[in-house]
Homo-oligomer: 224 residues x 2
Amino acid sequence: MRALIFDLDGTLVDTVYAHVLAWQLTLAEAGMPLDGWRIHRRIGMSGGLFTRALAREVGHPITPEQTRFLQDRHGELYRTLLPLRRPLPGAVALLRRLRESGVPHGIATSGRRPDIDASLEALELAPDMIVVDRQSVAHAKPAPDLFLECQRQMGIPAEECYVVGDAVWDLLAARRAHMIGIGLLTGGYGQDELLVAGAYQVFRDAAELDEALEELGIPPGISN
Amino acid sequence: MRALIFDLDGTLVDTVYAHVLAWQLTLAEAGMPLDGWRIHRRIGMSGGLFTRALAREVGHPITPEQTRFLQDRHGELYRTLLPLRRPLPGAVALLRRLRESGVPHGIATSGRRPDIDASLEALELAPDMIVVDRQSVAHAKPAPDLFLECQRQMGIPAEECYVVGDAVWDLLAARRAHMIGIGLLTGGYGQDELLVAGAYQVFRDAAELDEALEELGIPPGISN
């Protein structure tokens, strides 16, 4: 295993709960309220899939115009609710260590600009950091496209990439990309939910993952 | 089994995610940020225990004055973030059905007024509904006091009461009160977390619980 691909929201930055509340308020305003826990379990999936799931819940189709309106309103509320983005414990140090050790790594997120701008800034990324966002691919998670595009940019075979994420969508997309998924608890899923979805291991947060890198064979050659 | 005691936040009303974000913002303002998922897993426990856990995380003691200040600021942000409280699916109908069937029931919450006022209103409770809140007892969950006080007011032995809640704190307090805990997914815990904490059964929400009342022996005599 030679490389690490990271999800962003809930994995590197502490943004999941603001995303959930922003969707709760957006959907309530639009007259189609949805339970917070159902929204929570769909954070990180593609907006298109989210809208289709929503349409099923509310019992009528949602037009592309409505989808765009809802996404824009969500983004607006999200940026208002959480103007300051906080990196999760260990995230900044882990990314720095990977950079300094020459371990290939990147970020692949279903999020879109400008929603993700403040989060990327908070992570103090190197200027040449590989960031694949929603606009870079045709299909977001749980399709494998985001991870495959990140892997292509890193120039590492999929089979040698770990995917690190907080949601079952990361783990499903990782399996579809022939990568090995690692779960973090920082997105608010229970450990069992991540293991059942195929996580090879689950860590508390990036700090705990950082301590276990050698056991994962990163960088290659150290543990094997 | 003759009676049902309900938790409020996350069980009957859709408030957990607003509580989490309100705490995230409060603690960040106060210079002691805490991960959203850690806050989430502590929603519903007593404020005193929450503060002690917080003090351990931030590495210094928190004075009673600071605790009061943080609680007030949290309440203020919470009421601003979520002025409209939405009953969770099936909650209003279930409470109405219990009332009409003469099944003893009550609400027991670690929440306090005025934070809970809008939630109680949204549930369209009968004027004589039993509501035990934080101010009614010396210790909140996971101490059994709230459930025992509710049971005392209903006049039903503890052994004949179910506790319905969304958090492990409800389930732990139920065990300590010699009651049987039932978990709901509406607070955002995973099913396994609730089962491991001792839930006899886990339902999606109050609507699904409503459909299963007879299997639980409520009202008594129907299923036995």
